[in-house]
């Protein structure tokens, strides 16, 4: 599919919606957590890793995919999920731990699963690599179409699973793309401190795969590279290491002061840049762009309201879904029983 005005407008809409999601979650995150920071407090407890700055990756890559394709993502999944079309209401509800969430409150923000759009994310670094390759293998055995993509950070390219998976993809010539989102920082460790080569896409040659590198953090460039990788995969020509330089504007996790980032390495927000570009190119007017932003915020406000209005799961639901097909009740006993006086802490947060 060529890069049409319509497609580019859709990139902007998706990026804006993804940003609206993250900004709404960031605002909610601090509720109840101060003055003494406590992870478990407030309506959005736990850790939160937001995708501000990485939206072009979600928009550009997902724009090149079809419904058959399969995606795994990591602890920073929101932009990929939103751009892939993961159910926004249910994702918001999942972050708030509600019963209506994608995982009925069991997974939380790092563990987002939406089989309807073939999307799964999880929290151990590089954990999604091999499963994505396995999904591609399954489709081959089932004689069904589908390219598999694993979205990781540049830090994950130094984890054993990355190398083993790429070698397997090379040996089996699987339709697989690893999307390396290089935002320069693995928590506080810069890429130059942790990686033996300058470009991870150069590592592809070591695994019999193609490597592509996009530096602009612009969804148009990302889309074109993704299309090449997808076409290669669909043609049976094997995998691609797609290395995309992107930005991490909101820290590693919420609360990260980022004191370790020197002034000269401060990153740029891609959304205003793309907005300006589309206006220059006549794809949008200022009014169009404003309307898109308002629509994104409004849609997110709806999703947030749905999440807030949804009920929490009952404590007893903790014992569901350990095994498919149910299990003997006695297998998942709460030894020693429950504590009535602890129940004050359950339900709505203080």
């Amino acid at each position: 599919m060529p890069l049409t005005a319509e497609l580019r407008r859709s990139f902007y809409e998706k990026m804006v919606l993804s940003r609206a999601f993250d900004d709404a979650m960031i605002a909610l995150y601090w509720e109840g957590k101060l003055p003494i920071f406590s992870f478990g407090a407030g309506p959005l407890p736990g850790e939160l890793h937001c995708s501000n700055g990485a939206e072009p990756v979600g928009a550009g890559v997902c724009g090149a995919l079809s419904a058959d394709d399969m995606l795994t993502a990591d602890h920073r999944p929101h932009h990929v999920a939103v751009c892939r079309g993961v159910d926004l209401d249910r994702m918001a509800a999942e972050l708030l731990g509600k019963k209506t969430g994608l995982s009925q409150g069991k997974g939380g923000h790092m563990h987002i699963y939406d089989p309807a759009v073939n999307f799964a994310s999880s929290g151990i670094i590089a954990e999604g690599m091999a499963p994505a390759a396995g999904m591609a293998l399954a489709r081959r055995l089932q004689k069904k179409p589908g390219v598999a993509l694993a979205f990781i950070g540049e830090g994950a390219a130094n984890q054993g699973a990355f190398h083993e998976t790429l070698n397997l993809v090379g040996v089996m010539k699987l339709p697989f793309i690893v999307v390396i989102q290089d935002n320069e920082w693995g928590v506080s460790t810069s890429k130059s401190e942790s990686t033996a080569v300058e470009r991870n896409s150069d590592r592809a040659a070591g695994y019999g795969m193609a490597g592509e590198y996009v530096v602009s953090n612009d969804p148009d460039d990302i889309y074109e590279a993704a299309v090449r990788a997808v076409e290669r995969a669909r043609a049976g020509l094997g995998g691609t290491v797609l290395e995309l330089k992107t930005a991490r504007l909101a820290g590693h996790f919420m609360g990260d002061q980022q004191a370790y980032i020197p002034e000269q390495m401060k990153q740029v927000d891609p959304i205003p840049l793309y907005r300006a570009k589309l206006i220059r190119d006549g794809v949008l007017t200022e009014a169009d762009a404003d309307a898109i932003e308002a629509a994104g915020k409004a849609r997110m406000a709806e999703a947030m309201q749905f999440a807030k209005d949804s009920p929490y799961p009952d404590a007893s639901e903790a014992f569901d879904h350990v095994f498919a097909g149910g299990s003997e009740a006695s297998d998942h006993v709460l030894a020693g029983g429950s504590g009535a006086s602890d129940q004050q802490k359950t339900g709505a947060p203080a």
Partner: protein, 335 residues
């Protein structure tokens, strides 16, 4: 009067003292140079000891922990910071087959002196892959010492012991007890007056936090502090609860367990690890094998159930070994 320290500060003091005096100690871990590790175990060490002795690694646990084992075999004493015990999955082979077994497989010819600092535990909605305790999974490996202090005094003393030990030691700290400010206000019972000079706390001995005559509450890590809260509540009901901290899994103080439980005959074992195939079962097995007659009633285990840890607060809070659950179990034993 000594200063009152958190476990995080106390442990750091021990490591700092040893590193100042010994060239064989160096540190490895993710984000330790600038950040001092995710839980501040090495706060300030980068600036003080430099990048050769405080090595921030890529995300390559099998790689750098395997390297640590090799460095130990060559006479160094590496100290590794592995922030979350949930991550042992990516490097378990080094723990299981290399660091723990080399001394034995070499007939004593090769030593592997290294200390692995790991954070454990949940209770703050960090979901299934970032909230586990898994102390049973590491204690099960023959050839590794496993300790788990629950207060600042023990943290410093046990870390001195670990650093002076020629063996592979896993030193566990429950995140909620470490006293890092961003996990909420430090829990009072984790704080201790800590001497500025060095001292050791030996492995292999339980600690009795609180004497009692009616029921024994055994805990580990964070559950010790929930036992202490439960004991306060039970006191109001006229029940005298003894609180015992295992604090050392390998070696395990089986004599100490028998002696403590022998005083009351009623036992609640608390454990934030999963119920089955673990530490809580090991305690019960010890009693059954040695002298069942010390028990007046069948013991009760208050542990995490055998399920992945759910994210949402109502579900997670209901399954943790919290004070209310512990006190209720104790009351049932008294009925």
């Amino acid at each position: 009067m000594s200063r009152i320290l958190t476990m995080s500060r106390a442990g750091r003091e021990a490591l700092d003292w040893e590193m100042e005096r010994r060239d064989d100690i160096f540190c490895l871990g993710e984000d330790i140079y600038k950040f001092g590790g995710i839980f501040g175990t090495m706060d300030g060490f980068g600036a003080k000891y430099g990048p050769e002795r405080v090595i921030s690694t890529p995300i390559s646990e099998t790689g750098f922990i395997g390297m640590a084992a090799g460095a130990a075999m060559e006479g160094m004493h590496p100290v590794i910071d592995l922030a979350y015990i949930d991550f042992i999955g990516v490097c378990y082979n080094v723990l299981l087959n290399t660091a723990s077994k080399t001394h034995y497989m070499s007939g004593g010819a090769v030593k592997v002196p290294m200390t692995l600092l790991i954070g454990t535990g949940g209770g703050y909605n960090n979901a299934a892959q970032h909230s586990q305790c898994l102390h049973a999974t590491v204690a099960h490996i023959p050839g590794v010492k496993v300790v788990y202090p629950s207060n600042a005094y023990d943290a410093k003393g046990m870390l001195h012991t670990a650093l002076r030990d020629e063996n592979f030691t896993i030193f566990l700290t429950h995140k909620a007890t470490a006293g890092v400010g961003w996990m909420g206000t430090p829990i009072k019972t984790t704080l201790s007056e800590v001497p500025t000079e060095d001292y050791t706390v030996p492995f292999g001995k339980v600690k009795v936090y609180r004497e009692g005559s009616d029921v024994t509450l055994i805990g580990l890590g964070m559950s010790v502090h929930e036992c202490l809260k439960a004991a306060d509540a039970l006191e109001k009901d006229g029940i005298s609860a003894q609180v015992v901290d295992l604090r050392s899994l390998v070696p395990l103080d089986r004599d100490g367990i028998m002696e403590a439980v022998g005083k009351t005959g009623r036992l609640v074992v608390t454990d934030e690890d999963y119920l089955s195939y673990g530490v809580s079962g090991e305690i019960l097995a010890t009693i059954v094998e040695r002298d069942l007659s010390i028990l007046k009633k069948p013991p009760v285990r208050v542990t995490m159930p055998d399920i992945p840890i759910p994210f949402s607060r109502p579900m997670e809070q209901a399954i943790l070994p919290l004070a209310g659950r512990i006190a209720d179990a104790a009351r049932k034993l008294m009925a």
